[in-house]
Amino acid sequence: MPDFECRLKKFRQMKDMTQEQLAAQVGVRRETIMRLEKAQYNPSLKLAIDISRAVDAPIEEIFIFE
């Protein structure tokens, strides 16, 4: 299990996006977004960048590694 905190849900809701919409925008499945939000999946650098662009937030604020 990846050891990090993920604030994607907060940023996604601020942009008023559903998991489905975000998933379609970054080219992954909704389940992948769901696991990301629960910090159960460690994304690749490319996906992290795509997500940060999609929700307009810096990567280091979305994914917080201790």
């Binding site: 080219g27 992954v28 499945r29 696991r35 629960k38 159960q40 994304p43």
Partner: protein, 225 residues
């Protein structure tokens, strides 16, 4: 492959086969069956009457080589297409029932008893087709990076397990003391290797499905959307 090309290939195959049969008949009838029955090539001397047989065999061999090249090219093309695919292939989970064909492997005990032939044990490999059930359940799934990661994890795990089984069988059966005779040792080895390969085929699909679906708290988020 276009229909015209396929038809041309089939017609060419039939023509070459007819030529081969005709030259064989010619050789049997007028040329003392030379090049039809096995001969010692070191003592071979060329005769004009051998020419039809040599030509037809050469043509047929070239045809087979050409078909092999086409087959290899098609396999490579499919592999490359697979890499660029975005969704998993559409498969009916009922194809998993093909796994029951694996029970045909038990015929090996009967054929061995009958005429010492144990090649039927290889049918145990069909047990691997049970994996189609899980592949079918994941039909038309977007292959995102998490899917690819899970697929790799499942493949590696399944190879690890099957290799460990084969390795253990090799050590145990290689001692030669575990069975009564060399025949039984060989049979046991064939059975273990085919079952291990079938397990690998099945596990690679089953584990992929499990990694992708059985992680906790999947549905809880649905209601929030």
């Amino acid at each position: 492959m276009k229909k015209k090309k396929a038809a041309a290939l089939i017609i060419a195959g039939v023509v070459f086969l007819v030529l081969l049969l005709a030259s064989s008949w010619y050789s049997v009838t007028f040329n003392e069956s030379r090049l039809v029955v096995p001969i010692n090539l070191s003592e071979y001397t060329f005769r004009m009457k051998d020419l039809p047989m040599i030509c037809s065999v050469s043509l047929f061999c070239l045809y087979i080589i050409y078909l092999s090249v086409l087959l290899i090219k098609a396999i490579l093309k499919n592999k490359m297409g697979e890499n660029s695919m975005k969704y998993t292939r559409n498969l009916n989970p009922k194809l998993g029932y093909l796994g029951f064909l694996g029970f045909a492997g038990f015929l090996g005990f009967w054929t061995y008893h009958l005429n010492q032939n144990f090649s039927a044990f290889v049918f145990f490999l069909f047990f691997g087709f049970f994996g189609f059930y899980y592949e079918g359940r994941m039909s038309n799934t977007l292959m995102d990076e998490r899917y690819k990661e899970n697929r790799l994890k499942a493949t590696v795990k399944s190879y690890q397990i099957s290799t460990a089984i084969i390795f253990l069988a090799l050590i145990i059966l290689g001692q030669g003391r575990a069975m009564i005779s060399l025949d039984f040792t060989l049979i046991a080895f064939v059975v273990v290797v085919t079952l291990a390969l079938a397990l690998q085929l099945f596990l690679s699909q089953y584990l992929l499905y499990r990694y992708d679906h059985s992680e906790p708290s999947e549905e809880s988020e649905e209601s929030e959307e």
